[in-house]
């Protein structure tokens, strides 16, 4: 039991975080709870503190919308929040799609799809920045927030809170795509929201820190990591993960049996390093 907790503690906490956020939003619509109203696009805590999706607002800006003051306050709150805890912490601790893609990835590993030789990953992880740029261009040309029209994230999230409709199709498409077409396909390659939070994440304070002296080079962390390009320092240098593409999901910390990985605050760990 203790090892179970030790090996999955962050995973369990993340699921609790993701599901309780969904339940709170759902309760707001179904039973009139006031704790967390709205949805991931824009919401209010206790009917007081506004929060708004900065990427959606950026698209609105490109589309030519007049932005209200409350909205900008909500954006500022979210940007500052994720700059503190890691931009893509949104992806692994909040976004409901993460549960679908994690399941697909788990099944890939279990059924041995990952081990089939000769199949190359057919896309670059930089695709998301192209999609991000494209979404802003289309927003400008069409005069609407373009990604918000097709976003499977909002489709699924809104679906769970307000009624699903054909939203299950979006879930299925992403699941099958990640399972059979591209490993970490949606979250790790295409999603422009993830790309946006990657950019914010470059400035974030809480980071995974690697201690090369303790590392035995088993590479379990690289296997489990959904963005394993960010773990380039493993077994080489004692550095924090600097790339914004790290989702702070902490799977690497859990699987490490040598205590070579752990969360720390970026600047503090730097000071430690220079102190050494």
């Amino acid at each position: 039991m203790k090892t179970l907790w030790n090996n999955y503690r962050y995973l369990i906490l993340r699921r609790i975080s993701q599901i309780s956020i969904l339940v709170l939003y759902f309760g707001a619509n179904a039973w009139g709870w006031k704790i967390l109203q709205g949805n991931l696009s824009s919401s209010k805590i206790l009917g007081l503190i506004p929060m708004s999706d900065p990427y959606a607002v950026l698209q609105m800006l490109f589309a030519g919308a007049v932005l209200a003051g409350d909205l900008l306050l909500g954006v500022a709150i979210i940007v500052v929040f994720y700059m503190l805890i890691g931009g893509r912490a949104f992806c692994s601790w909040v976004c409901p799609i993460n549960m679908i893609t994690d399941l697909a990835n788990y099944l890939r590993e279990k059924t041995g799809i990952n081990k089939v030789k000769g199949i190359k990953q057919p896309a670059s992880r930089n695709l998301r920045y192209w999609v991000l740029g494209l979404s802003l261009i289309i927003s400008t040309l069409m005069g609407v927030a373009a990604f918000e029209f097709i976003s499977p994230i909002s489709m699924v999230h809104r679906g769970i809170v307000f009624g699903l409709g054909f939203g299950w199709a979006a879930m299925l498409v992403i699941f099958l795509f990640d399972l059979f077409v591209l490993k970490n396909g949606w979250c790790g390659h295409i999603c422009p929201l993830g790309g946006f939070y990657s950019i914010i994440g470059r400035f974030s304070l809480i980071r995974v820190h690697h201690d090369a002296e303790k590392c035995t080079g088993c590479m379990d962390c690289k296997v489990v990591c959904p963005e394993n390009q960010v773990l380039s320092m493993i077994n080489k240098e004692s550095l924090p993960v600097l790339s914004g593409e790290c989702t702070n999901c902490a799977r690497c910390i859990e699987v490490c049996n040598d205590d070579a990985l752990g969360f720390s605050i970026k600047n503090l760990s730097k000071n430690n390093k220079t102190g050494e």
Partner: protein, 276 residues
Amino acid sequence: MSSINPQKEERKMKKEPESDRRKFILNMARGVGIATLSGFIWSAYVDEAKASQLTLRPPGALKEEDFLKTCIKCGLCVEACPYDTLLLAKPGDDKPLGTPYFIPRDVPCYMCTDIPCVPVCPTEALDKNSLMTDGKLDINIADMGVAVIDDQSCIAFWGIQCDACYRACPILGEAITVEYSKNERTGKHAFLKPIVHADKCTGCGMCEQACVTEKAAIFVLPREVALGRAGDYYIKGWDKDDEKRLKNAKEIKTTTEISKRKAQDKLNGDFLEDMY
């Protein structure tokens, strides 16, 4: 032999950076190609989704084009609605995804005097200021749509007594009035025909819900769809205020083959020649 090898090596050295550059350019070109393809598909979808005109919006909504730009699809208005009138468009509803709308035949807008759906809007896509009379919220000036009567299927136009819509109207006697006229068919009865006054109608849809016919004979359409526009060329000469519209009128010249000559020449010359 030894004299050839360095030359070869040199050529290789020269080639390598070039092939890297070529690779980079090719990769960029591929990116642009894929971006163009997906951009067009994406824009086409957004364009189609935007085109659905028959959507009834909550009170105070901006003009549809601006509304689509500004609405962040958070659903706070939907949660604020005490009658579950407002719905959030889900995949399969054939409305721009995630935007609020209502179906009056199912649940009309009950025109709450405090208009709870409007002040909660974080983006001001629902504009409080458009619903203010003397500094107070006034739902009676809301402009969600306008009721239209199909006099072929309205049984009151057949001569059967029915004033369901008139009675249901929250601004009874102003938005809907009943016009009396003689029923020539029977010679001794009267028609009691409902008439909608577009300038007073808010488009709440209570009449549509109350209508007794199988498919409502009175129904709400967005104003842009239901109403015509006389333009600046036809003026009510008996109405002093209406004459102000003449200011906007501009001359339009239509040039065709005929307009090359004066009307008189045309009538005296070619026209007669053509005839004989």
